[in-house]
């Protein structure tokens, strides 16, 4: 187990290093000139040139790359070219908001998705089944941007229950979490419905029923224990993605998270922020992947790390 962990950790570092390199290359392939963006289209070329010099943008690419990596290892991701603040500080400032929204969104997904999926499986064709389909339709066909605006208009303006976007209290969190979670909830309920149906046909379930175990106990102790495994995997990966920020939802609700920051940075060609956010998000994904794998081992006795 511990050698497995070590191997995974080494692999993870490799992946992160690769991501850092690819991001660096991609950012430099991006059209546009960060110094020009900073100075604005009206600034004379000399001003832009001075800014390039100041930021070291005129150095050869390998020099810039080594400098970037060297600093990144020490936790220095550079300064935003837009507001000149340290990137890492900006990311950590935005992290609590993103964490809140990510966990709340995941909670909505699971709280709606899991019961709905179970109901849909044990009563195919019932209202739960219909609702799952409806939610899937909403999640797939309505862009979150529109859904968010409609939610704000209805529940913030027409019926002022929730604040019109912003950040701070639990109330601010409700609408974005719901909008974020609805699509995912439908997805989870479908996955769970299928995996419950799958497990329900297994021999040991029939055995359990034959032994006279109560249907409720069969469902909770026998079926769900196995049927939930794919959901756990998905939820873990989902959370990793959410940690990278949910750009559209954050933009509509004015949620000051990492996604909104990254989006703004891309529009402003704020390279240090873009690279910092991608690096951070990739670390989150790698880390969550590892966590999911470890969780798997405890959940599923068939996965024992004998050979790794």
């Amino acid at each position: 187990m511990s050698s497995y962990l070590i191997r995974r950790l080494v692999g993870a570092v490799g992946v992160i290093f690769g991501v850092a390199t690819i991001t660096f290359i991609m950012v430099f392939l991006m059209p546009g000139d960060a110094a020009r963006m900073y100075a604005g289209p009206r600034a004379p070329e000399e001003t832009v040139e001075r800014i390039r010099e100041l930021w070291g943008l005129n150095d050869p690419l390998p020099v810039q790359y080594v400098r970037y990596l060297g600093r990144a290892i020490q936790g220095d991701l550079g300064n935003s070219t837009r507001d000149s603040r340290p990137v890492l500080r900006s990311i950590f400032e935005r992290l609590p908001a993103t964490l809140q929204l990510a966990f709340a969104g995941l909670l909505v997904e699971l709280l709606i998705g899991v019961p709905l999926g179970i109901l849909a499986a044990i009563r195919p064709g019932s209202w739960a089944d219909g609702l799952t389909t409806l939610l899937s339709l909403i999640g797939i066909s309505i862009p979150p941007f529109a859904l968010g605006l409609v939610a704000l208009y209805v529940f913030g303006f027409l019926i002022p229950i929730f604040p019109l976007g912003g950040y701070g209290t639990v109330l601010h969190l409700v609408l974005p979490a719901l909008v974020l979670g609805i699509g995912g909830a439908a997805f989870y309920s479908r996955v769970l419905r299928n995996s419950v149906l799958d497990v329900m046909g297994d021999d040991y379930i029939r055995t359990a029923h034959a032994k006279g175990v109560s249907p409720r106990r069969v469902l909770l102790a026998h079926i769900l224990r196995n049927a939930l495994i794919p959901v756990v995997t998905l939820a873990g990966l989902d959370l990793a993605l959410l940690l990278g920020g949910v750009v559209v939802i954050e933009a509509v609700f004015g949620w000051p998270g990492i996604g909104l920051q990254a989006w703004t940075a891309i529009r402003n060609q704020d390279t240090p922020i873009i690279m910092g956010t991608v690096l951070f998000a990739s670390i989150a994904v790698v880390f969550m992947n590892m966590l999911v794998d470890l969780l798997y081992v405890t959940l599923d006795p068939r996965v024992r790390l004998t050979k790794g």
Partner: protein, 519 residues
Amino acid sequence: MRRVRVLFLIALMLFAVLSPIGAQDDNILRIVTNSEIRTLDPHIAYEFDTWPAVSLFYRGLITLDDNSTPQPALAESWVVSDDGLTYTFTLRDGIKFSNGRDITADDVKYSFERLLNPETASPTAYMFAAVTGAEARQNGEADSVSGITVIDPKTVEFKLDYPVSSLMLRFALAPGMIIAKEGVEAAENFGRQPLGAGPFVLDSWESGIRMTGSRNPNYFKEGLPNFDGFDISIGVEPSVGILRIESGEADVSLDFVPNSDFARINADPALAERLLPLAAFPNIDYIIFNTNIEPFSDQRVRQAMSMAIDRSRLVQLMNGRSVEAGGPIPPSVLGDNKELVPQAYDPEGAKALLTEAGYPDGFTTEMLVTTDPTQLSLAQAAVSDLAAIGVQVTLTPLESAQFVDLLVNQPDVVQLVMTEWYLDYADPSNMYEPLLHCDGSYNWGRYCNEELDARFAEINLLPPGDERWAAFADLEKTLSELLPNIFLEHRVNYYFTSERLSIESDPALLLRFDTASLK
């Protein structure tokens, strides 16, 4: 017992639900804005949302009234020499920075020397390039600006290398703000720790979330501002911002009313009277030709394309927030030729002219545009009009970073560009010099007419006044005939204010927060 607790919880939740909404009877100005405020450093700021934010904390030597006429601010008076080369300002008595320190002529000199310091890397420093020694300072060859002299603690003099008749207006803009040296020196990041002589001081700033401030007790205008403070919610999507203002949760947005919301608001008389047209940054939407290549080097082709575009449809697309353009100078700017009639929509005439020019079947070309929704919709309308006379235009939308990069660094690829220009100040020279002068930094079509440049240089020496405005009106007429660009429309942007707020738009810094009040 358990039921009591549940009831208590429900009551608590209800209270929490209802408390953030309503109850706006305190004396705080509530502002919303979409993007994080990039900086409060007046020498760095250069955006529609940062200039009004800067105006909360800073004041300059002068301000502009509604007609863009200079009015005293930190300076109580000034003298411009007859040759237009010397500006002498006399500071007002008893003016202080928000920290209580007296403002002297040294602070004025310091402020402008920092603006021109190459390490400041100010995007607006070019506005004062005419000051003697500014260039040497910008190149790092001098530690000070030789043309700025402190005569006594209350008097400061600016000497210019060449007269710039719009210079006075520039003193009212963000780069002309007076800053406190100790603030710059003590700040880790001056863009986030402002110290000036504006109506408010900064209390807190949670990046991307919220900024608050309170009244500056040392503000030079007695009894102002009318508010105890301000509270800016950052990251509010513009349409959501409108809803907040409508519901009374906010008073004004630093963002303009989005096109889609404008139609709704303008249709409701009660809401429409709360629209505030932007007094600053007069606009022109126009199409640039690369006049150095065929077929655009032929005036008849340019004329035909101008005739082919239905400008009234563009005005419609903007939900009525624009007027058709007769020439490049916006109607709110002195020097605009009121006799110029916008080009009439005449596709038949355009076709005939195109045939005469040797293109009976039209031709194909490419037009660059940014992905800005307004620009994109205007470009699409123009492209479909042009197709009707056989000019097939491929539209290439680019993100603004890429757009600017391409135009600045590869001007040769340009054929047509759909774009917009906002004048920094209400002087007609700010339309010709950057856009059409051979050396114009924004002259993306590389239009170059030396005869016209010479004429411009001559009339630009005229001091503000009837003679100057008449000369520019003449120049505008010439331009409307030469058609280096297709002049489409002049757009007006609007702010939307809450029912309780009374505020004016400022031609220099966009919003007058210091004189704003509750109705």
